[in-house]
Amino acid sequence: MTDHFNQLTSKDFMSDQDIRWCPGCGDYSILANVQRVMPDLGVPRENFVFVSGIGCSSRFPYYMNTYGMHTIHGRAPAFATGIKASRPDLSVWVVTGDGDGLSIGGNHMLHTIRRNIDIQILLFNNRVYGLTKGQYSPTSQIGMYTSSSPDGSIDHPIDPLAFALGAGATFVARAIDVDGAHLQQLLRRAHDHPGTAMIEILQNCPVYNDNEWAEVEDRKSRIDAALVLEDGEPLVYGSEGHRRGISLHDGIARVIELKKDQDPIAAGVAVHNEAYQTPAYAFALASLRRPDFPLPIGVFRAVETATYDALLQGQVAGAVVKRGAGSLHDLLHSGDTWTVEER
């Protein structure tokens, strides 16, 4: 371990490799913000491991001057599981795309989240397969025209956060590629969360799906198009003069128009709580869609429960306490044995 990590800067996390993303790709901003956050996390650089699958987004580890694995399509969570389960001392980050993580890798995503292994998953959602040149993905909206859907996509999309919540995710958040300050805040929260922390990062692909998130990426329109979640604060959004809130009853969300200076809580607006044990509340938030509702960003859910890696280490340590460290000689001689004498 080094003791100089406190002095590290974002530069220390930049590798010497040329970055190959298209100009204007949202991945640049995400990379820069991740590099900015790393020095503040109190982790020596050599203890970071970035693991990815395949896709434009999955090139990410090459650009991080940490340990990294660029693996195979969709399987990054499984590699990360092996790393973290064997070495809980490491800070393990998965970088994946909407195709990598929810199409070919949907199964691993589900099971990794359900086990609550203590890793961070950054899912770059550009709602398209970038690397393979623009086919629709599992998050693409119905009707999207692409090279493989010339008549429009007929696949119903999945919402990454609803998926994660369905799998029992203990930490679920949404960020925007270009909103650096907010993204950094969520990266820190994800790092501090014990258990699987999933952040969906809305990412623009200017080449194959430009402006998919324009409404929330643009600072001005974001005010009316996004709902910034703050723990303990009412679900209020909208520009000065057009403030609105969200009420939630029986899982049904409604927009409440707020008059100037009206107390939102008194008006029936729900108060955000990250810590509800039931995922139903966060699921209701994850179901809010444009244009009828604002798109929530921030932490949807943060609850604590035992992590897979801690339970596994606990079983190993417990077995040693209970049975003593294993002896190979005793193992080989366990059960019935017999001796054949020299004759």
Partner: protein, 616 residues
């Protein structure tokens, strides 16, 4: 217990093969296993073959539900479970029907006469009672097992169903008497396993079965099979799967490195996961993954992090692992992949035997991605094979494939327990010096790259599946570099041959016919070749454990014989390799019935080969 049977004849035999058969609920595997333990303690050489139905709960009394366990024991050397049992124990008509054709002519057939009811005859598909016809051809021993068993338990507070479930131990007791086996090990086992009335019932019927043998008129003769000449040492029984599991645990201990096993349940590999999971106190971690892909990926992740990654599976799961194996080749990380082959293709016959994944192991990935392959040749050899695989994996920084099969997995043999101090202790060394570190610099001798694990300051680096530049490991699309790297990786695997001992020939070093086997067919081939030589035939054999790379002297041995026969439980895989690699006129002998080779069929083919004119 070696009570003398008064007034009965005792006859000495060199060897006996017994097959215990019954409904899958009758406890035949347990009966066979206990008889095996007792036989090992009696000092015989032995070999066993369990055969169970694929269905967990097939309808009672049907052919689909028949379960069997064969044991062959002898005062001489035993290589196989025997082609034909001398004795068949059949608990019901279905078991009789399913097995009778395998019994040696005039062999002994012991049946539970209580089970020959109209209903069970019908279930077994018999139009009429087969026993009268069989009495002329076999030594039929008809015992009212159900009634005798109930009788022995009549004053015990136990319901009829539980009482009937003990009857396999009655039969076991009888067989112990018949072959002069000690009952103590079984009694000890029962005491460790059960208590109360269940323990009492089982102990009682075991002893009652033994006593029945002593007194019954039906069995006038009992048999002694003298002790075999066995190398001195401490022995135990071991199945191939247990040996694999213990090899995994042992590798961690010997290499002083924690083991991480990722696996997804599949027949016949699941027991390895079950067994290893019991040894957390060795620091061994098991991870039951969501599928075979996740299992291998997690194991590779653990290897990257500095542990001994291993994954266990069978055919269909092995297929799923191929893409990740390709990554392990590219990333040059140590990894052991164990494929316990089963009969295919597709889901095939999961509980049956084949050795048809050799070409998959060697060539099952996209592009040129060579991986060393070792095949275990006996249950006990599985233990050493796994340790050898880990040693290669770490020394050469490469995935290594271990092939076993369903036969080795489930059959047991007496195994001389190795002295832990004499086992190899392969060295594990992680790179630590940042000044001299290059992720893909190579050791001049082994061509291995350094193992640099997270947590080591100054060695931060990225690996992955994209083509790697020599030395730096940076992504490179340079055409020459790619070709060089593909050839370097192949050369690295080829250099492992330096660690492989030369193959020893069983029989003369040159001559007319060489039989070449690999993996789990060792017993049958050796037995057949030895028998042929005893018949005066000029035939030798070699058995390959190392399939990639081959032992260095393989080519010269092959060229020293006029004819080469390659028996395989597949449609001709090793034979293809030998022909292409060494340009020798090797001929295949192939069987894909889900069953092992019979010695007699190998002998017949050997005779045929020797009588044929040599043709180029």
């Amino acid at each position: 217990m070696s009570r003398k049977a008064p007034g009965k004849t005792v006859q000495q035999l060199e060897s006996v093969a017994i097959r215990f058969t019954g409904d899958s609920g009758d406890g035949m595997q347990l009966t066979g296993t206990k008889f095996t333990e007792s036989t090992a303690i009696a000092g015989n050489e032995l070999s066993t073959l369990p055969d169970y139905p694929a269905e967990i709960r097939a309808p009672i009394g049907t052919l689909a539900g028949v379960s069997g366990f064969q044991i062959h024991f002898s005062s001489k050397s035993v290589r196989t479970p025997a082609d034909h049992p001398d004795v068949l124990v059949a608990f019901n008509p279905a078991a009789l029907r399913a097995n009778i054709d395998d019994v040696r002519p005039t062999g002994m057939v012991i049946v539970n006469s209580d089970s020959f009811t109209a209903k069970s005859l019908k279930r077994a598909g018999y139009a009429e009672d087969p026993r009268p016809a069989l009495r002329d051809r076999y030594a039929m021993v008809e015992i009212p097992l159900t009634r005798l068993n109930r009788e022995a338990l009549k004053d015990l507070d136990i319901n009829m169903r539980d009482a009937d479930r003990c009857k396999n131990f009655f039969a076991l007791g009888l067989m112990y008497w018949l072959y002069h086996r000690p009952v103590e090990s079984t009694e000890r086992w029962l005491e460790s396993r059960f208590k109360g009335s269940v323990l009492e019932a089982n102990l009682r019927v075991l002893r009652a079965g033994y006593a029945f043998g002593e007194t019954t008129e039906i069995l006038p003769v009992s048999y002694i099979v003298p002790k075999a000449k066995i190398q001195p040492g401490v022995y135990r029984n071991i199945t191939g799967n247990k040996a694999l599991a213990w090899g995994i645990v042992a590798a961690g201990e010997l290499m002083q490195t924690d083991v991480f096993l990722g696996a997804y349940p599949i027949t016949p590999a699941s027991e390895v996961l079950h067994e290893v999971a019991r040894y957390r106190h060795f620091g061994v971690k098991t991870f039951q993954a969501e599928d075979e892909i996740a299992a291998i990926c997690a194991a590779i992740g653990a290897s990257f992090a500095g542990e001994l990654g291993v994954t266990t599976t069978s055919g269909p799961g092995f297929v799923l692992k191929q893409e990740a194996l390709g990554l392990a080749v590219m990333a040059e990380l140590p990894l052991v992949v164990i494929d316990i082959q089963r009969a295919g293709p597709s889901t095939g016959m999961p509980t049956k035997i084949e050795q048809a994944d050799l070409l998959l192991a060697l060539y099952g990935r996209n592009s040129d991605s060579p991986i060393p392959v070792i095949a275990a040749m006996s249950p006990g050899d599985c233990f050493h094979t796994v340790i050898e695989a880990f040693a290669w994996a770490v020394k050469y920084m490469t995935p290594v494939i271990v092939l076993s099969n369903g036969h080795l997995a489930n059959s047991s043999e007496p195994w001389r327990i190795p002295d832990v101090d004499t086992l190899p202790r392969p060295k594990v060394g992680y790179w630590s010096d940042p000044e001299t570190f290059l992720p893909y610099a190579r050791d001049p001798e082994t061509l291995a790259r350094p193992w640099a694990i997270p947590g080591t300051p100054g060695l931060e680096h990225r690996i992955g599946g994209l083509a790697k530049e020599q030395g730096t490991g940076n992504v490179s699309y340079d055409p020459r570099n790619n070709e060089d790297m593909i050839r370097l990786r192949a050369e690295k695997v080829a250099r492992i041959a330096a660690d492989i001992p030369p193959i020893e020939i069983d029989g003369p070093g040159s001559g007319e016919l060489l039989v070449v086997g690999w993996g789990g067919t060792f017993g049958a081939i050796t037995a057949a070749v030895e028998a042929a030589r005893q018949n005066g035939k000029a035939v030798s054999s070699i058995h390959l454990r190392h399939l990639n790379p081959f032992p260095k002297n393989l080519g010269s041995i092959l060229r020293s014989f006029d004819k080469i026969l390659v028996p395989e439980l597949n449609e001709g895989q090793l034979v293809r390799l030998l022909r292409t690699e060494f340009l020798v006129p090797a001929i295949g002998m192939n069987k894909v019935r889900g069953q092992p080779f019979l010695i007699e069929e190998l002998l017949a083919r050997i005779d045929e080969m020797l009588s044929e004119e040599t043709s180029p």
